[in-house]
């Protein structure tokens, strides 16, 4: 079973060809303005024979939101009156983004209580009136968000059905599909998704065309990766492009885990400008458990817990007192650093000066403080690793990225430093290895911890299998049990994430 993973980053588009879990070839190419050029270059540079799947990790959708470009307008329907009137949809959005996205907004009666009782009956006529208005305004991308919809999805689904019936051209994003509890944050995520739908259609069609043109064969399936490091099928990606947000760091950590043969430990990716630390739990990045802003919008996306420090191969050396970064020559390393004939002393120069690093076509720069600089950098990295650690137990650290030379082999609290050979394309390898996931986030009542967790795992597994996971291979990645304050009885919010390999791909692997 052969898979190609492609990671489209801001600077480089990387590719990796894997047979099973074995890495056959990797390639690094510059990202092109049209993105597709880079993908074509990667596909042209790798062997093509019998590719079962191409998995692409892309920052395009994140970038569209951050840059406020290529966004379509969105109609909002909130279900929850008579509560929540003072905080309508788009509350708290940066004004430039809100103005780029805003069109008709409706609030209708309805919603759910925390225990699943209806808060109010859904105002179906209000939904129908809204649908007609969306149709009259030519707004096809519509968000439906109802209070406590993850606990009972029926009102949102009924509203979506009515909108489809009265506005056949509409494309509805229902908020419960994007998970988490927290109405405004969930509605925000649905809004970010809906404003990307037109872009998603064209981008994903173009990906498909690039794969077809590369002549990989009619059997090749195309996937994107999502922020939790798992696969997103193309028909899902067209409907839920927002799920691709921040898949880059996740892919990088997943790839590092596979290359380093480590499921639990730390990863550091030292690039040109920053060093990014993450923690691996069961082979997946530990998630940040907090509200996350994307393009200035508050969401509850499950993003990997990443600590970035301003230290990379291109970091400038400052003296009196000695300091490194956070300014960096970045991509201009090969023209501006001392060793490449430039005028800026960088961390890379220090490594070349001491002979730690050999780079063709460079001269050894004359840096009197090179040893001190490397020691300083190693200490910054050791401090960062210590901040990401959760216990005093020693753990392995996988060092990847072009600046990994700056990671010292001996560090307090680190069992060993692993430096995988293909570490500079860990992100593409991580994309190629992505599995299918299932997630559940729900409040359970009066059944106790064990029964609630068992039920949540069953529901999450069902979700993963429905998305194509091999039911015999699904494993639990994460269980979070959060008892809730000020609710009667034994109320607990349980979040479970499971993942497993794609069923059909896996069986063809045998």
């Amino acid at each position: 079973m052969r898979r190609i993973g492609i990671d489209v980053g801001g600077t480089n588009t990387d590719g990796a060809l894997l047979d099973g879990e074995r890495v056959i070839e990797t390639i690094k190419t510059p990202t092109t303005t049209d993105v597709l050029g880079g993908i074509r270059n990667v596909l042209d540079g790798l062997s093509h024979r019998d590719i079962d799947a191409v998995v692409i990790g892309t920052t395009q959708f994140t970038n569209a939101v951050v840059q406020r470009s290529n966004l379509n307008r969105v109609g909002f329907l909130r279900i929850g009156l008579p509560a929540g009137r003072s905080l309508p949809p788009l509350s708290g959005w940066p004004s430039d983004l809100a103005e780029a996205v805003r069109s008709d907004t409706f609030l209708v009666r309805g919603g759910i209580e925390y225990d699943g009782r209806p808060f109010e009956k859904l105002d179906e006529q209000g939904v129908i009136d809204a649908a007609h208005q969306f149709a009259d305004s030519g707004i096809n991308a519509v968000v439906v968000a109802g209070s406590f919809s993850p606990i009972d999805t029926r009102q949102e689904l009924r509203a979506a059905e009515l909108i489809a019936e009265h506005h056949p051209k509409s494309q509805v994003t229902v908020s419960h599909r994007l998970g988490q509890l927290g109405l405004l944050e969930r509605e925000n995520a649905a809004g970010l998704n809906a404003c990307l739908l037109e872009l998603a259609e064209s981008v994903i069609a173009a990906f498909g065309a690039a794969i077809d043109q590369a002549g990989l064969g009619s059997q090749t399936r195309l996937f994107l990766t999502q922020n939790n490091g798992t696969l997103l099928q193309i028909d899902e990606a067209v409907k839920y492009p927002v799920l691709t947000f921040a898949s880059g760091p996740t892919n990088s950590m997943r790839g590092a885990a596979a290359l380093g043969g480590v499921d639990d430990g730390l990863v550091v990716d030292v690039g040109g400008t920053t060093a990014d630390f993450g923690a691996l739990v069961s082979g997946y990045p530990r998630q940040a458990n907090a509200a996350v802003e994307v393009g200035g919008v508050r969401t509850l996306f499950q993003l990997p817990d990443v600590l970035s420090i301003g230290l990379g191969g291109g970091s400038r050396i400052h003296t009196d007192p000695l300091r490194l970064g956070p300014d960096s020559v970045g991509q201009r390393l090969v023209t501006e650093a001392l060793a490449f004939g430039g005028a800026v002393p960088t961390l890379t120069d220090a490594a070349i000066a001491t002979g730690l690093l050999q780079v063709d076509g460079t001269s050894r720069p004359d840096l009197a403080n090179a040893d001190d600089v490397l020691e300083y950098a190693a200490k910054m990295i050791a401090d960062g690793a210590d901040r990401m650690k959760l216990s005093s137990l020693e753990v392995p650290l996988i060092a990847v990225g072009g600046g990994a030379f700056a990671v010292s082999d001996a560090m307090a609290g680190i069992k060993e430093v692993i430096r995988p050979v293909q570490g500079d394309t860990a992100n593409a390898i991580g994309a190629a290895l992505a599995e299918v996931s299932g997630v559940i986030d729900r409040v359970f009542h009066d059944i106790g911890h064990d029964a609630a967790v068992t039920e949540a795992i069953r529901l999450a597994t069902e979700d993963a299998v429905a998305s194509g996971a091999d039911p015999t291979m699904v494993e639990v990645i994460e269980v979070e049990d959060l008892p809730l304050a000020y609710l009667p009885g034994d109320a607990r919010r349980i979040r479970v994430r499971v993942a497993g390999p794609l069923e059909s791909l896996h069986s063809s692997n045998g």
């Binding site: 009137r85 003072s86 919603g111 509890l181 405004l184 005093s392 609710l487 919010r493």
Partner: protein, 358 residues
């Protein structure tokens, strides 16, 4: 002294009130957003010093009761708490001259602003807790032996209730909690009305302007690239008790309260030692190497070590780098009567109170 609150004060209040929440009280985020929208329309709020209240002045005391999670789904509307004040005025047959907070810690700090926005009455610069506490009877008014009834309770669907009489403050907590749970674990309340004289004698004076001041100090420290944790300690006469990272959070609920223990492993000068932080919605007891260093009613605040942002008991998570600070409680909460309401034994700990900043 009377002052006018503007949009900047509203932003600063959100930061300061969350610090004074001592881990509980609910994140002020949504209520802050509500007030930002109102403040952006140019509305200003009059904040009056309690000493300027007429002894006969009638003061409404407001809070929203319920579960933070429900507030995140139902999204509170300022009209609800304003309506609770109106229901109380209708019940008692006389209107209010001003409105004040029950609880300055957490999201309830915004309740008087929300009521004021719709009723047009000034806000008294005071509250009845000086922080956040888990139960409604844990107030300076209860400590003062003031009358606990009546109470007005409002749900946006048109449920409006009055608790006309109760024998004790604890019974008011039980009756109003039961009503709150039945309406979906969220309801706006107007507590027993207070006279100007009562607020002057038993209110925690100037707690609203103190919360705003704390928020302003954090903001200034961030802008000036100074240490926000040090700025909070300096503004509140507080002390950094410990710095480290959270290595374990064990949570469970009993009787509707979120209880548990957070463990913090030391960094910097505290490397090698560990803190155990017990909580019951709020941080209640801090132990360093099994030595109790702070308890309720004193304020125990857990802050992000870099940003100075407060960390709640519901959001504390593995790996966060934190500073634990202690602030002495106002003397009002230290009498033996007061400790019956808010001391360690009132929360189930067989401990004498420990002041973190003796």
């Amino acid at each position: 002294m009377t002052r006018t609150l503007d949009a900047q004060d509203v932003d600063d209040l959100a930061v300061g009130a969350w610090v004074l929440g001592t881990g509980g009280g609910g994140s002020p985020y949504l209520n802050h957003l509500n007030m930002q929208r109102i403040a952006a329309d140019g509305m200003q709020f009059e904040l009056i010093d309690p000493q300027e209240l007429d002894d006969q002045a009638r003061v409404a005391v407001v809070s929203t009761m319920g579960a933070p999670l429900v507030m995140q789904e139902r999204l509170q509307d300022p009209r609800d708490v304003a309506r609770a004040v109106e229901v109380m005025a209708e019940h008692t047959g006389s209107t209010f001259d001003a409105v004040m907070a029950t609880e300055i810690g957490g999201s309830n700090a915004f309740q008087p602003l929300m009521a004021s926005a719709h009723l047009g009455i000034p806000i008294v610069d005071a509250d009845a807790m000086g922080r956040a506490y888990p139960e409604a009877q844990m107030t300076s008014f209860a400590i003062g032996g003031l009358q606990p009834w009546p109470l007005a309770l409002v749900d946006p669907r048109g449920v409006e209730a009055i608790v006309t009489q109760v024998p004790t403050w604890k019974w008011m907590e039980r009756a109003s909690r039961a009503l709150t749970i039945e309406t979906g674990s969220m309801a706006a309340t107007c507590k027993a009305p207070r006279s100007g004289a009562e607020v002057k004698r038993w209110g925690v004076a100037n707690s609203m302007s103190f919360a705003i001041h704390l928020g302003a100090k954090v903001r200034e420290a961030r802008v000036g690239h100074e240490d926000p944790v040090a700025a909070i300690c300096s503004a509140a006469d507080g002390q950094v008790l410990f710095t480290g990272k959270i290595v374990d959070v064990d949570r469970h609920t009993t009787g509707g309260f979120l209880r548990g223990v957070a463990k913090i492993s030391g960094l910097d000068q505290h490397t090698g030692s560990e803190v155990e932080l017990e909580f019951q919605n709020e941080w209640l007891v801090a132990r360093i190497e099994n030595q109790v260093v702070a308890t309720v009613p004193h304020l125990i605040c857990l802050l992000d070590a870099t940003s100075g942002e407060a960390i709640g008991t519901e959001t504390a998570r593995y790996g966060q780098r934190v500073a634990l600070i202690g602030i002495s409680a106002p003397p009002l909460f230290l009498s033996s009567t007061a400790l019956d309401y808010v001391g360690p034994r009132a929360m189930g700990y067989d401990l004498d109170p420990v002041d973190p900043c003796p």
